[in-house]
């Protein structure tokens, strides 16, 4: 089976090379026979990659330690659940997993569009095949997952204990689905540039793909934060690690695109800008992969054998050069109407929104690469950690938060002062009331506390501004529909305007995330104490009593040491926490498994920091306010995105109407 897995990778490469060449030659030579032949290749490549992936999974399930990759990331004792996830635990498998997702996406695109978009499809398929060829070249000739060990050992080295968490099964695939998903919009954008079909066709084809990839990347980042929170035991969820940054940057650029694309749809503006954003999003995903796999930048996420840096750098350089060349040579065709009625309009606010998103993106990029720049210029390697990102990104993020409240309710074309007053009066009043109510309650000692205070005020303003939109729309429906109830009409309003109100729901999710980050970052308190059994630790209005220590031989390679902590509030037992340390045979450091009691107000987060033979233990406790807001915000975003992506015939009809109107309006100008 291993031979088959290795062989199918080679076949996949050969077929992908043929398919790519055949698509290009078919279009260039106008040869339908070649086109029909090329059209068979996406499925063949996918089948080959699926067989190869199945072979590797089989290696994990059957403990085939003749495969170096299986030996390095699995052992006999590993749960089947984690054996399946070990597939993407190392560099080789993760590249195969990337290829598997990409070929799957390519086939979905193929079956969706093969009969509909003949002008763009050959080029889009060729572009996707080029990217697949790059990955298949690496898999075949540089980092082969089917590399053998001549004398197979009895047992494997095992999966890193930190990765033995259920999030390992969820977080990386979600992140990859997002990362790889941006290839589809990139491929269609490139197809439009190469074929010079630069009308809005490529945008219609790719908008939902961008949203889908954005959704997965967003959820992937949140899942990663959740994993870090429960596994790493430092009470936090985001450390501005270079690899976290690498997943954050494409998300920012894609968010900018998802906003500015609305201007192109509504007003036929900003074609060059939108094209650049789509290309940049993909470039950022490759840059992120370069960081993870180059070993150039120190990160907790870097793969052990991070040796592919130069290949990814070369690929990145090639993509950038091709993108810049195509945009420059197609500039006349990307000419937009680009007329602005007023600086006080939704178009202008979206431009500022783009500036802020890209500002955060650039600051994050700059912070990520600055250690390399510093080493090159001064010969001194420095660290750029959370204090830098917090100081630089937080002020920009606050402007962005304000814009979430301003953008959607400001009028298209031109807002008047009357219009502004009408739309913003209530949200501003609610923001001011929040400021007044919070002023005596929250501490305002340092810069971070002031930023938090401002964040809460802006959250109230934005939330009021969004809820007002829902309220007004529902009321208007109720006034027109006799006898309709509020929630029924609210549902109909949202369902009949999925993109608009789904977008507002996503914004509500963002507000919750902003509030959660602000509250948990600024008001978290913690304490640590060495306790004997029966002794207690007090933290604010909680008393934590250390009750017992239990040692459990979970498996032949894993021992769990569990502390039992009774948590009391006002002399009433509210929870029993069971933080633990897990010891794995052959691993130097034990793994911390925290225990968390999460409520809407705060999390009680308990860590077993250390223990002694006399059963005394060092217990560390955090009270992290509002962390659950962050996760709730994530689910609200997921809900809103689903509404936005739901197929909408009415929206399609409206778009056709808009296009007809635009054609009528712009036809003379384009002549």
């Amino acid at each position: 089976m291993n031979d088959i897995g290795e062989f199918t990778l080679l076949i996949a490469l050969a077929v992908a090379l043929y398919g790519c060449a055949a698509y290009v030659m078919a279009v260039r030579g106008n040869r339908i026979d070649l086109y029909l032949s090329a059209d068979k290749t996406p499925v063949i490549v996918w089948v080959c990659v699926v067989i190869s992936s199945a072979a590797l999974w089989r290696g994990f399930i059957t403990n085939d330690f003749s495969l170096q990759y299986v030996w390095a990331y699995s052992n006999k004792e590993l749960d089947t659940f984690y054996k399946l996830a070990s597939f993407w635990g190392g560099q080789k498998g993760s590249l195969l997993f990337w290829t598997l997702i990409l070929t799957t996406y390519m086939n979905v695109v193929y079956f969706q569009n093969r009969k509909k978009n003949i002008r763009l499809m050959p080029y889009a398929m060729a572009v996707m095949l080029v990217i697949i060829i790059f990955f298949l070249l690496l898999l075949n000739f540089s980092t082969n997952p089917f590399e053998r060990i001549p004398l197979p050992p009895e047992d494997g080295r095992g999966l890193n204990p930190l990765l033995q968490n259920y999030w390992m099964v969820i977080h990386p695939p979600t992140l990859y689905l997002g990362y790889v998903g941006f290839t589809v919009p990139f491929a269609f954008a490139m197809a439009a540039l190469i074929s010079k079909n630069l009308d809005d066709g490529w945008i219609r084809l790719t908008k939902k793909w961008t949203l889908l990839a954005w959704f997965f990347l967003c959820m992937g980042n949140l899942f990663g934060a959740s994993w870090a929170y429960v596994e790493l035991g430092w009470g936090g969820y985001w450390a501005w690690d270079p690899v976290e940054n690498a997943a954050f940057m494409p998300l920012l650029v894609a968010t900018a695109f998802l906003h500015s694309i609305q201007i192109q749809e509504k007003k036929d503006m900003m074609k060059v800008w939108n094209m650049s954003l789509v290309l940049l999003t993909f470039v950022m995903t490759i840059f992120g992969t370069f960081i993870t796999r180059s070993g150039l930048i120190q990160s907790v996420h870097t793969f052990d054998e991070a040796t592919l840096g130069y290949y990814f750098l070369a690929f990145l350089a090639a993509i950038v050069i091709v993108c810049v060349y195509l945009i420059l040579t197609r500039l006349p065709l990307l000419k937009s109407k680009n007329e602005l009625d007023s600086l006080l309009s939704r178009e202008a606010s979206f431009l500022i929104n783009n500036l802020m998103l890209l500002g955060i993106g650039f600051a994050t990029f700059w912070g990520t690469i600055f250690p390399i720049i510093s080493e090159a210029v001064r010969g001194v390697k420095i660290t750029v950690g959370p204090p830098f990102y917090n100081q630089v990104n937080v002020p920009i993020g606050l402007v962005l938060l304000a814009l979430i409240g301003i953008g959607p309710v400001i009028a298209w074309r031109r807002a008047t002062w009357v219009n502004l007053k009408k739309n913003f009066q209530i949200p501003v009043i609610i923001g001011l009331v929040t400021a007044a109510v919070l002023f005596p309650i929250v501490p305002l000692g340092g810069r971070s506390e002031i930023f938090t205070y401002v964040t809460f005020i802006l959250c109230a303003f934005v939330m009021a501004s969004i809820l007002r939109e829902f309220l007004n729309g529902t009321r208007a429906r109720m006034s027109l529909e006799e006898g309709g109830n509020f929630f029924g009409e609210l549902g109909i309003l949202t369902w009949r305007n999925k993109r608009r109100y789904g977008g507002y729901i996503v914004h509500i999710g963002m507000v919750l995330i902003f509030a959660g980050i602000a509250g948990s970052q600024s008001y978290s308190i913690h304490d640590q104490k060495h306790l004997k059994i029966g002794e207690s630790l007090k933290l604010r209005d909680y008393t934590l009593t250390y009750e017992k220590l239990t040692v459990v031989e979970a498996t032949s390679v894993k021992t769990r040491v569990i502390a039992q902590i009774g948590v009391y509030k006002n002399n009433k037992r509210v929870w029993t926490g069971r933080p633990e340390k897990e010891f794995y045979k052959g691993q130097n450091q034990p793994v911390t498994e925290v225990d968390v009691r999460s409520t809407i107000v705060e999390d009680i987060y308990i860590i077993l920091a250390d223990f002694s033979e006399d059963e005394s233990a060092t217990i560390k406790v955090y009270l992290n306010p509002m962390v659950s807001w962050l996760w709730t915000g994530g689910w609200v975003i997921a809900f809103g995105t689903m509404i936005c992506m739901w197929p909408d015939r009415l929206e399609q009809r409206r778009r056709l109407d808009r296009m007809k109107k635009q054609e009528a309006i712009f036809a003379p100008a384009q002549e």
Binding site: G233, W234, A239, M269, Q298, V300, N338, E339, L340, D341, S342, L343, A348, L351, L355, G359, F362, A363, W366, G367, F370, S374, I382, T383, V384, G385, P386, P387, F388, Q391, V392, I396, A411, R413, R414, T416, V418, N419, K422, P440, V442, P443, G445, N472, G473, A476, R477, L480, N497, I525, H526, D527, Q589, T592, I607, A609, D610, L650, R654, D657
Partner: protein, 160 residues
Amino acid sequence: MKTHQGILAILLALALVAGLASSAGAAAVLADIENALMCKCDDKCGKVLINCTCSTADKTRAEYTKMLDSGLTVDQIINMQVDKYGETVLSSPTKSGFNLTAWAMPFVALLAGGFGISKIMESWKRKGAPEDQDTGDEEAPSKSAKYSSRIQEELDKIES
């Protein structure tokens, strides 16, 4: 009477905030150091000390607590660590010399971007409709009537 109760409530709230601030004080000083310095463990974990849970990090924290107890200030402790391990022990670049570019560049880029966008918007605006063109808002007979007609328009579009 009501005024007295109000003053008492405000004083109690202020006392609570002050109490919270002072109890957090000692921990906050150590947290300042933990935020400013990286963990120095042999595994080169690459984590800021406050985020690190390895045994080296625990020892380092104990060491800094002792230093603080001995009367050293946060700045003195940080400087001692820089002398010992070099600049790489700092969790963020210093705000001097070449490192200043790390801090300044994002804002310079933002300003440049803002300037560029304002120029672009102005040029687009010149191409657009004149400012005094009527948008209908001020001339509307009444706000509710205008709003209703807008909703009606939208509903027509939805239901067409």
